[in-house]
């Protein structure tokens, strides 16, 4: 497991990561989300001891990365597709890694087979495609059979088959009881694979919750109802502090309460209901809403009005 304790990184006066405190737990896939420049990669680099935190700590299995005796057997990381020297073959790259941590070199052949690179083990990695580079990086991460895995944008450059493979791999790694931290900009990808979401913006923690909860918490997740007494019911619900939007007709969109609660309130008000249903936000909408105020490189003004969720908030 990974524990961040007040993790902070400043570059001069600019704060990249600001007092991040959270635990990333084993047995699930934790999605690490945030706009560009939010501090995701910096956080991962600090966990690996590549960058020094200005203050605070990043602990892996209770220790700072630099104090792990066999780091590759505790943490595997894929930071980008360029982890190997282009002049080295896939085998040399993995052998050097294995030797540095006293890992038996037969593991090299095992992980090469696992990621499907057996045919190109002797080829220099400069000839590798982006997808092959990703697979090689994943092979390196799995070399020490670690209990903690971190992937920074793992599906970049992979073909649809590769994407499905990575998705399945992360799922099975988590199911084996490992800690899996995945950063991605692809919300649809997260919706498919993540159990837990950590959302950061401008270096601070915005949300750390199970994915269903993040979606449920969105203002775009609402209860839709239709009633002949819509106007009276709208006043009644609004008086109880719920968010109510009407379309002028018989339809109301109610936020801030569960579907059960809305049904009970309608009953108490004596309103006839023709429809009562959930309208769930997509993860993308929930995420956009969460990070709307913390987009680092936001377009200053939209040239044309658009109706994306970002523009609404």
């Amino acid at each position: 497991m990974i524990a961040l304790r007040g993790l902070t990184k400043r570059y001069g006066t600019k704060v990249a990561v600001d007092g991040l405190t959270c635990d990333i737990e084993p047995g699930k896939v934790t999605g690490f989300l945030g706009p560009n420049g939010a501090g995701k990669s910096t956080t991962m680099r600090m966990i690996l001891g590549l960058d020094r935190p200005t203050s605070g700590q990043a602990l892996v299995n209770g220790k700072e990365y630099a104090h792990l005796r066999h780091p590759l057997c505790e943490v595997g990381a894929v930071l980008d597709a360029k982890a190997s020297h282009p002049g080295h073959s896939a085998r040399t790259y993995l052998r050097a890694m294995a030797r540095s941590n006293g890992i038996p070199t037969r593991r090299v052949e095992e992980v090469l087979e696992l990621v499907g690179l057996t045919e190109v083990t002797g080829k220099r990695t400069k000839s590798f495609s982006l997808g092959m580079g990703q697979r090689l990086g994943i092979a390196g991460a799995l070399l020490g059979d670690p209990g903690v895995l971190m992937f920074d944008e793992p599906v970049n450059g992979l073909d649809p088959d590769g994407v499905r493979w990575v998705r399945g791999l992360m799922r099975s790694l988590a199911d084996e009881g490992r800690t899996v931290l995945v950063s991605s900009h692809l919300m649809s990808e997260m919706q498919e694979t993540a159990d837990q979401l950590i959302v950061i913006g401008k270096g601070t923690l915005i949300a750390n919750a199970p994915i269903e909860q993040v979606i449920a918490g969105s203002s775009l997740t609402a209860v839709k109802l239709r009633s002949p007494q819509a106007d009276a019911l709208a006043r009644d619900l609004a008086a109880r502090g719920l968010g109510v939007e009407g379309d002028g007709g018989d339809e109301l969109i109610v936020t801030g309460a569960t579907i059960e609660r809305v049904g009970e309130l309608a009953h108490a008000a004596g309103a006839v209901l023709h429809e009562l249903s959930m309208r769930a936000a997509s993860l993308e909408q929930a995420y956009m809403e969460l990070t709307a105020t913390s987009v680092e490189y936001a377009t200053p003004t939209s040239p044309t009005p658009d109706d994306s969720p970002k523009a609404q908030v």
């Binding site: 497991m1 737990e25 084993p26 047995g27 699930k28 680099r45 690996l48 001891g49 590549l50 960058d51 020094r52 299995n61 990365y65 630099a66 792990l68 005796r69 066999h70 780091p71 590759l72 057997c73 505790e74 943490v75 990381a77 930071l79 980008d80 360029k82 982890a83 190997s84 020297h85 282009p86 002049g87 080295h88 073959s89 040399t92 790259y93 052998r95 050097a96 890694m97 030797r99 540095s100 941590n101 006293g102 890992i103 038996p104 593991r107 390196g140 070399l143 020490g144 059979d145 670690p146 209990g147 084996e176 009881g177 490992r178 800690t179």
Partner: protein
């Protein structure tokens, strides 16, 4: 949800410094540039050794001069060392250029261990190469000039073999340290060439006293005392050896400080 953290199924044996050295060794010989640099070193060393032979013994009137085992070694080193300068820089600066340094540091997160492993592997290869260059020089003298005209003394062997190995060792570590400071292959190599050739050359052209004084302490001038037994310098052989070591240690200390305090 609480799940018991999963332990690794791989049983690692050893690691730390020994593992780091094994990894550096594997990486060094897995690169084509290593073989190219060594081949270039040998070709240049042999070439200069051949050119350095005075004349064919038959061309002398009377007795030809006797050559020491270490004669020409300084000239042999002068050119060939530059291939070794590249070889010394690349294992670190090449990793910065390609991003492979992140893998290296996640495998061996302790900066001192990582740097010492590179010092050990690079230093061993450089020292051995220096000795091989000395042997090559002797071989050329014996083959082309005639073994009977080559004098083998303990001092000549010491300077020509051990001196050459020591000189190349310190130059390589100096460049490795520069690479750790500058994190750039071009930067490390040009700085090294500036110190090894630039300053002595400039002082010869300008003839400024201060510059000459500074130049006397550059590795090239110091190496004259070690390799050829030059006596015109204001220091002894022992001090010369320490001076060469000093260049390496200062650069490495600077490199370690940068590694320690600057993000990878």
């Amino acid at each position: 949800m609480t799940t018991t953290p999963r332990a690794s199924g791989v049983a690692p044996r050893g690691s730390g410094f020994v593992g780091a050295v094994a990894a550096e060794w594997t990486k060094l010989w897995g690169l084509r540039s290593t073989w190219l640099c060594l081949a270039a070193t040998v070709v240049m060393a042999a070439g200069v050794a051949v050119l350095g032979i005075p004349r064919s013994p038959n061309g002398f009137e009377g007795d030809p001069p006797i050559l020491d085992a270490n004669s020409n070694i300084q000239a042999v080193m002068l050119l060939a060392q530059f291939a070794m300068v590249a070889l010394a820089a690349l294992p670190l600066t090449g990793e910065y250029a390609t991003g492979a340094i992140r893998t290296t540091l996640t495998c061996v997160p302790r900066r001192a261990t990582m740097l010492l492993a590179k010092v050990t592997v690079g230093g061993a290869v450089a020292a051995l190469t220096g000795i091989v260059m000395g042997l090559l020089n002797m071989g050329v003298i014996a083959a082309l000039y005639g073994p009977q005209y080559m004098e083998i003394t303990a001092e000549g062997l010491g300077r020509g073999l051990l001196g050459a190995g020591f000189y190349l060792l310190t130059i390589s570590l100096f460049v490795l340290g520069l690479g750790a400071i500058l994190r750039s292959t071009a930067g490390a190599i040009t700085t090294a060439i500036g110190v090894i050739v630039g300053i002595p050359l400039l002082s010869q052209i300008i003839g400024n006293e201060t510059l000459t004084e500074i130049s006397n302490y550059t590795p090239t001038q110091v190496s004259g005392v070690v390799l050829s037994g030059v006596t015109a310098m204001p220091y002894s052989l022992g001090s010369a050896l320490l001076l060469l070591l000093g260049w390496a240690i200062v650069a490495l200390a600077g490199g370690y400080a940068v590694l320690r305090y600057r993000d990878a």
